[in-house]
Every structure is written in structure tokens, then in C-alpha cells.
């Protein structure tokens, strides 16, 4: 087992280095922006995945990103608030909404949760369209200010004006988010989540308070989604009630379905893979949603373990091949 751990850590470091070095090799600001959004989607898909590990399906994940984005943008534009305080408020608001919704809907059969999250999306869209004052009404908010510069005495002031600055800011937060998700799932709490998904009555009969754990997964995931929403608005400098809605919520589900559910790596692969794929099919981008819809269905019907499963199989084949080659030479 230990060798596998080392491989995983090495691979993660390599991937991290790649992402850190991307802005050194890619100078096109548009492309940097695209990759930044892909990273935001990675965080959204990965946080959605955490909810799925407890056996719940949500159709409203994008609405928590909307909540985060609007709270941050609203506080900054309407009250001139510091962006870091706005960020905190945004994440806490998303968490509170998740707490209330989770408390009401996670007590009962899963289908109610799906329906409630679907309805939440419509509700959030309407609520944030209601007020001109902090949230800009139906048109939303544009020309959002950049994150407030950080001034640490003794160091040069960190500005966030260029796409590259926002790229690294996003990278830092996304990496933190993924580490939180990974540590949560890899530890004993992950086993509790899996037990709830696989046999919830049995889990309860050994003393597991399943509602508490479902709510934990939901609130953590939605807070990270709120964070992702804030990061999104930093890059796009724009938010409106329609921007992150049901189509986006479904998109994150597709990232998880295509990428695989076995670990947090699945949604990461899915989000990056689909993000790159979307850029590749840009010439026919009108067909993108249709293709993705089919990918979702195909993934569910034919490739249940996703890209992660496929990669794992390839890895196993390589190991087998290696072993066979070794045994043939001894």
C-alpha cells in the first residue's frame, strides 16, 4: 500500500507544478482566463462529488455558487466592502442556506432532496432578481471590482488586476478546497459517508447519526461552492441571476459522472477533461450541451466508473504487464 501512496503524492505534485507553470508558458490572457474558469469548475464538481458520496443527488449546486457570487459582488459594489470580508460573508451565507435546506430535506427520502434542490435553483434566481439595491435586479451586476490588494508589511503589495494574478489566486483556493475534500473523504468520515450511501438503515443501527453526516457533507460542499462562485465573479467581473443555473448544476453532475466517483480525482479529471473538450469543440459549440447530455447518459449506462475507472484499469494493465515482463525474465 505504501508504494501506491507515494505514487499518488508524486503525481499530485507533478500536476500541481504543471498548473503553477502554465502562466509561464501560456501568455494569451484569454486562454489563462479559460483555464481559470476550468479550475473554478473543478472546485464545483469536486464539492458536488462530496454530496454524492452520501448518496444524495443535488440539482441546485450552481445556485450556491450564485449565492456566493452575489453576496461578494453585492457587498463590494453596494457597500464598498473589502473583498476578503465579502468573501467570508459569501461563504458563510452559502453555508447557512445549505444548513437550513439540509435540515429540512435531508431527514427524508432522497427524491425530496433532489426536488428541493431543483426548486432552490429557480428560487435563488428569483430572489436575487428582486432587489435593484445590492444585487442589481434582473440585469445583475457588471464591472465588478477586483479583489482588494493584500499589503503585508515588509512585502510588496499583492495586486489582483491581471488575469495571471486571478489565475494564481484561484489556484490557491481551489487547491485548498481539494485538500479539504480529500482529507475529509480519506479519513474515517469518508467511511461513514460511504456507509450511509451503501446501507443507510444499517448505518443508523450501529449508531451513526445519518442526518448529521449528510448535513455535514452538504454544508461543506455548498460553502466550497459559494467560494467557487466568488472566484468566478473575480474572473468574469459579472454576475446575474441566470448565469449559474440549472444547466450549470447539471454540467457539474456530468463532470462527476464522466470523471468517476471513486475519489476526488474523478470530478477533477471530469472537469478538466470536459473543460478542455469544450474548448476543442468551440467551432461547433452550439452542439456542446447536446453532446454533454449524451455523455451523461452514456457514462451512467456504460461507463459507471468514469475516466478514473478507465485510468485505473490502464494502470492495472501496466502493472500486470510489468509483472509479466519481470517474471518472463527471471
Amino acid at each position: 500500500m505504501k508504494q501506491e501512496q507515494l505514487y499518488k503524492i508524486a503525481l499530485s505534485i507533478v500536476v500541481l507544478l504543471v498548473f503553477i507553470l502554465i502562466p509561464v508558458f501560456i501568455r494569451n490572457m484569454y486562454q489563462i482566463g479559460v483555464i481559470t474558469i476550468i479550475m473554478v469548475n473543478v472546485l464545483l464538481a469536486a464539492s458536488l462529488w462530496l454530496i454524492l458520496t452520501t448518496g444524495q443527488v443535488t440539482l441546485g449546486h450552481a445556485s450556491f455558487a450564485t449565492i456566493g457570487g452575489f453576496m461578494s459582488a453585492g457587498m463590494m459594489t453596494a457597500y464598498g466592502m473589502n473583498s476578503w470580508l465579502s468573501l467570508l460573508i459569501a461563504v458563510v451565507t452559502a453555508g447557512l442556506v445549505a444548513l437550513v435546506l439540509g435540515y429540512i430535506t435531508l431527514r427524508i427520502k432522497g427524491i425530496y432532496f433532489v426536488i428541493a434542490t431543483l426548486a432552490l435553483g429557480e428560487f435563488i434566481k428569483i430572489v436575487f432578481g428582486m432587489w435593484e439595491h445590492p444585487f442589481g435586479g434582473l440585469a445583475g451586476l457588471i464591472d465588478l471590482p477586483p479583489p482588494t490588494p493584500i499589503a503585508i508589511p515588509g512585502f510588496p503589495v499583492i495586486q489582483f488586476t491581471t488575469n495571471t494574478d486571478l489565475y494564481y489566486l484561484t489556484l490557491v483556493f481551489v487547491v485548498i478546497g481539494i485538500i479539504i475534500l480529500y482529507r475529509l473523504y480519506a479519513g474515517p468520515i469518508g467511511r461513514v459517508f460511504r456507509s450511509i450511501r451503501q446501507a443507510d438503515e444499517l448505518a443508523e443501527s450501529v449508531g451513526i447519526n445519518i442526518m448529521r453526516y449528510k448535513i455535514l457533507a452538504f454544508v461543506v460542499a455548498c460553502m466550497l461552492a459559494g467560494l467557487a462562485g466568488v472566484l468566478y465573479t473575480y474572473s468574469t467581473k459579472y454576475i446575474s441571476p441566470r448565469v449559474l443555473g440549472l444547466p450549470q448544476s447539471v454540467y457539474y453532475l456530468i463532470c462527476v459522472a464522466v470523471g468517476g466517483e471513486a475519489s476526488v480525482v474523478g470530478p477533477i479529471l471530469g472537469a478538466i477533461g470536459l473543460g478542455v473538450f469544450a474548448e476543442v469543440i468551440r467551432p461547433v459549440k452550439e452542439f456542446e450541451p447536446i453532446i454533454f447530455g449524451f455523455l451523461l447518459i452514456a457514462a451512467r449506462l456504460f461507463f459507471k466508473s468514469g475516466l478514473l475507472g478507465i485510468l485505473q484499469k490502464i494502470w492495472q494493465l501496466c502493472v500486470q504487464l510489468k509483472n509479466r515482463v519481470i517474471s518472463e525474465h527471471t
Partner: protein, 287 residues
């Protein structure tokens, strides 16, 4: 404001309520029969609306012919999709949910591609306004309401008085027992699914008489249908009728007296039901 406005709202509420009943009934039929929550339901509603629009505009047929043809088109589409996708995953609740979501997305996106995102209206078919006890109701709305009532009553007769309808109910209550009694489950599943989609398509075709339509109208219809069936009780047919009227009237009065925020009612109703009595008004008593 006051009494007249309230009365007007209630009449509008009743009229839109029958429409909500129609579309929610379709969703309930599919859910109680196959245990599938058809998240693509709203898209069949949207397709029904666009079908009626195009048939009347480009083929020049009269409205009723267009409506009937549209219902048939939507029903056939439903049968094909059930056979292609849902049949493979029957019993797998997460699987059918995901497939329904995927279909919803494919249908909505294709519609956006083909029809564009701009809302369109159908040319007025029925002219004039009737006034009754100081309440105005346009001919279009009156016809819409009548069509919905006819269809709902028709469904009732179909389900309770015909052999096929009773077979559908039997499968909804206990699949295995029905199969043992010689019911062809595959055929009934296809029929039930077709019926559900047909009702959605009919509702869409009817709404085109009153409001403008656009490719994303399905989501709103889906959320309202879900609100109706949760309020009435999942799987309960009488519950759909009660829930539909309540949502229709509450929404209508809400828009008159408090305006735009009334659009949050479907969601608020869902949460209230889940907090107070999750099995809904006509569902079984809570354990």
C-alpha cells in the same frame, strides 16, 4: 384593489390551476407507475407548445387540429425515449434520475439551438372577452380552461373506467401482482409514459394560447408540477387536483397583491410541506 381584484385573481387562479393539474397529472402517472421522477417532463410541455405554434403558423391548420397532432407527436417521442433509455434502467433510482436529467438537458439545449432563445407568441386564435359578475376572462383563457377540464376528466375516465386504464393503475399499485395477473408490463409502461408525456404536451399546447413561449419554459413547468404533487402527496391522483388549485389560486392572488415575489411560491410550498407534513395533503399519515 379589494374585492374585485381578489375575485379576478381567484378566477385566473382556477383557470391556471386546471393547467397545473393537467401537467402535474402527467408527472404523477409516470412516477406512480414506474417510480421514475421524469425530470424531462417540462421539456415535453415545451415541445407541445412549440409544436402547436409551428403547426398553426406554418401549416396553417386550425388550433384544435394542431393541438391533437402535437399531443400525438409528443406521446410518440415519449414512447421512443422510454424504450431507448428508461427501460434499460428500471429499478435503479439514481440511474433513472440521471438519465431523466440528461434527457432534460439534451431536449432543452436542442430546443434552444433550433428555436432560439427569444420568446415568441402565437397569433390570437380566440377573440373577445367575457364579463361575468364584474370579472373579465378572455376567450383564450376560457377555451384553455375548458380544454384542460375536458382532458383531466378524460384522463379520469380512461384510468378508472377502461381496461387499459385500470391496468395502468394496477401496475402503479403493485407491479408484481399485475404481472402475475397477465398484464404486459412493457406495453403498459410504454402506454403510461406516453400518457404522461401527452398530458405535458397538451398543457404546453394550451399555454401557448395565453402566454408567449420560449425554449426554457420547461424548467418552470417542472418546478411547478413538482410543487403541486408534493403539496398534494406524491403518487396521489386526487392530491394533484387539490394541489393544482391551491398553487394556481395562491400564485394568482400573490402576483396581484405582492407582485414578483409570488414567483417564489412553488419553492416555498415545497419547503412548507416538507416541514409540516411531508406526505402532503392527501398522502398517508406520517410515520
Amino acid at each position: 384593489m379589494g374585492l374585485e381584484a381578489a375575485l379576478q385573481s381567484i378566477i385566473y387562479g382556477l383557470q391556471i390551476g386546471v393547467l397545473y393539474i393537467l401537467v402535474a397529472l402527467g408527472l404523477t402517472v409516470i412516477f406512480s407507475m414506474m417510480n421514475i421522477m421524469n425530470f424531462a417532463h417540462g421539456e415535453f410541455y415545451m415541445l407541445g407548445a412549440f409544436s402547436v405554434l409551428y403547426i398553426t403558423s406554418f401549416l396553417g391548420l386550425n388550433y384544435f387540429a394542431a393541438l391533437i397532432i402535437s399531443i400525438l407527436i409528443v406521446a410518440c417521442l415519449g414512447v421512443i425515449l422510454e424504450w431507448l433509455f428508461f427501460r434499460r434502467a428500471v429499478g435503479d433510482i439514481v440511474g433513472t434520475t440521471i438519465i431523466a436529467i440528461g434527457l432534460m438537458w439534451i431536449l432543452q439545449s436542442s430546443a434552444q439551438l433550433i428555436f432560439g432563445t427569444e420568446p415568441r407568441g402565437m397569433e390570437e386564435v380566440f377573440h373577445g372577452t367575457f364579463t361575468f359578475l364584474n370579472v373579465n376572462i378572455s376567450a383564450s383563457r376560457l377555451v384553455a380552461m375548458l380544454i384542460c377540464i375536458v382532458l383531466v376528466v378524460g384522463v379520469y375516465f380512461f384510468l378508472y373506467k377502461t381496461r387499459t386504464g385500470k391496468a395502468i393503475q394496477a401496475v402503479a399499485q403493485d407491479r408484481e401482482a399485475a404481472a402475475l395477473q397477465g398484464v404486459d408490463i412493457n406495453r403498459i409502461n410504454a402506454l403510461g409514459f406516453a400518457l404522461g408525456c401527452a398530458l405535458a404536451g397538451a398543457a404546453g399546447g394550451v399555454i401557448a394560447l395565453i402566454f408567449s413561449i420560449d425554449a426554457t419554459m420547461g424548467t418552470e413547468a417542472l418546478v411547478k408540477s413538482l410543487s403541486v404533487i408534493i403539496l398534494g402527496g406524491l403518487g396521489s391522483f386526487p392530491g394533484v387536483i387539490v394541489g393544482g388549485f391551491i398553487l394556481g389560486i395562491a400564485e394568482s392572488c400573490g402576483f396581484t397583491f405582492i407582485g414578483y415575489p409570488a414567483a417564489t411560491f412553488p419553492f416555498v410550498i415545497i419547503l412548507l410541506v416538507l416541514v409540516i407534513k411531508r406526505t402532503g395533503l392527501m398522502g398517508e399519515p406520517q410515520q
